[in-house]
Symmetry: C3
Subunit: 267 residues, 3 copies
Amino acid sequence: MKKIKLDVYTLLKKIRDTKPVVHHLTNWVTIYDCANIIKVIGASPVMSHAKEEVAEMARLASSLVLNIGTLDREFIESMKIAAVSANQKGIPVVLDVCGAGATQFRDKKSFELLDEAGIDIIKGNVSEIARICGEDIRTRGVDAAEVVKDMIGLAKELARKRECIVVVTAKDDIVTDGSKTYVIKNGHPMMPSIVGTGCMAASIIGAFAAVEHDLVYASAAALVCFEVAAECAVKKSSGPGTFKEKLFDCIFHLDKKILDKMQKIEA
Amino acid sequence: MKKIKLDVYTLLKKIRDTKPVVHHLTNWVTIYDCANIIKVIGASPVMSHAKEEVAEMARLASSLVLNIGTLDREFIESMKIAAVSANQKGIPVVLDVCGAGATQFRDKKSFELLDEAGIDIIKGNVSEIARICGEDIRTRGVDAAEVVKDMIGLAKELARKRECIVVVTAKDDIVTDGSKTYVIKNGHPMMPSIVGTGCMAASIIGAFAAVEHDLVYASAAALVCFEVAAECAVKKSSGPGTFKEKLFDCIFHLDKKILDKMQKIEA
Amino acid sequence: MKKIKLDVYTLLKKIRDTKPVVHHLTNWVTIYDCANIIKVIGASPVMSHAKEEVAEMARLASSLVLNIGTLDREFIESMKIAAVSANQKGIPVVLDVCGAGATQFRDKKSFELLDEAGIDIIKGNVSEIARICGEDIRTRGVDAAEVVKDMIGLAKELARKRECIVVVTAKDDIVTDGSKTYVIKNGHPMMPSIVGTGCMAASIIGAFAAVEHDLVYASAAALVCFEVAAECAVKKSSGPGTFKEKLFDCIFHLDKKILDKMQKIEA
């Protein structure tokens, strides 16, 4: 892979200019952070989950973000209704398979969403994506490093099988549609030290997917934006609490110069 | 309208001295912020939604705040029970018609709440209040500016029709009972740049309504307090993330001098 | 009682080294704060409530934290399933009786949890614990000071009756198993000035209980850690908003020197 440059700022500007509505059905832990990151990047968050209104709400939106972090049966049913409505309108659907692999219920519901609705972008960390690929890390008896080594291969395989984009967040993030692959090397160890950065990454991907049809490109650009802002925020913070507040500040103030200078991406 | 001065501090002091309980049934996105803004202003927040306990909880409270942001069918039923209990006790009920106009379900449930319980204060932004007034902004083919121009008229009409106070939050906020009208010109563009300021405004109105029978006056005083604090917070912040934290700091530290000096209100 | 020193840091280091999973079924108000405090202290939070998965999730965990703050009927049923699963695995269960005494429903459900599952640590403030002890503060006609005076006695009685640890948070916190008693004198008046410190204290107790079998000791050490961090955070903050962010920073940075120097504990 070779180092490349993406014109991330043009997409960010398009978000700020057009303020797309990003409809979320997400977990109750980070729901504020997901809404607020969408707001401060310049888009318009909507969080709604009642089965009576999600189809109509999805039709008002420019993208849909699903996150199963605090799933229950009814919530997944609402997700399916929203996703099908989004599919009918033709807007992109992002699925964060938060916690996949932890319980059988979570795995079952993840696969139901993937089977019963059109998911355009699957996003997770290494172990979540491995599980969605059908891998059982524990029974294979491999250590984390081995799984990571093979992660690009696994992600590509999943992308081809599901005909979607796969985003794996880790130290180096992977974005692939099975043929085109980006690796984003931005970010900071402080990010996984707080709750919510993974969920916010999925939301930001939703915002970029709302303004750019090339969803591999949109997802890569989204991660660059989010992680460059995180690097800026770390410099201005004194620990994980202040880091999160500065992260909102830094995303709000992102400009072309910072994005061009700080991005670290390979393709 | 003429510039006037309100003795906002006397009400704020009454809140701090008597620590009224403000019962909320609110959305899952900003529920923490609503509780915390009530706490830092000196009152006592209670968030509870189980249909088995909301009537009893409302009887312990000095005001009730309803916010339909992440409504579902059961939640609205609990709201009705709480509101009827509040009506029986004679404590004020604030309804934030958060997202009204977005879906038919949201409109229907807003009208059910207004029809089946006594709502003392309806609060929303321009498009939400317009919808509750029965206006369909999109089909009328008018632009936002025209709607705003007519907003005082619409708010008065709604206040008279529903026999309640109507609060419209915008650059200039409107508070009216159909005859007496206040316009609050405090605030800052940073406020709508984050998620939660609208919801927190409704909570603060709930706190002021808990200590002052004149609900037009209470609502106006609440908005002055909240928005003066926001102006102070902007000066101490470096973006939307730090703004929100400083907002809590500034409300906590509000004093008579700041409130007298910075308020911008017309009647 | 005499001033003593606890080797709190050894337990904190064990948490950071082993990253135990702390499973929560908690309220929707402070759920982010509970998850994040667990993360920044170095443990691994899991928040999940679906009845289909809580038993399995509890089996993955090293401790379970229940908080009834925004209870409803179904949520309590999930708590029971999770607690019984935790009991079977032999991991400690912490119950925060948040809001006990406010409604009959809340009292009834608290007693159901205590009767139908093995609760290892009951945590509440003075009035909540008094109510769980069977006391009716209002009908007894005593003032708060008198109750507090008798609080160690009440807590010991409850600990013996329920065969568990009782934690009472107040200016001076009490931790007792009915015979061994610690009083923690750390903390700051800013703590009850924001929403969430009580809930976070229960979470931190869950993290310490995950790495130390002596649950009286674990609970006392947890409170020392949390309150020493709070004292540090107050010094670096300008009000309740910045205090909370600095609290996360300070817990993240806690070291042996600070803990040894600042702890104020009696036994």
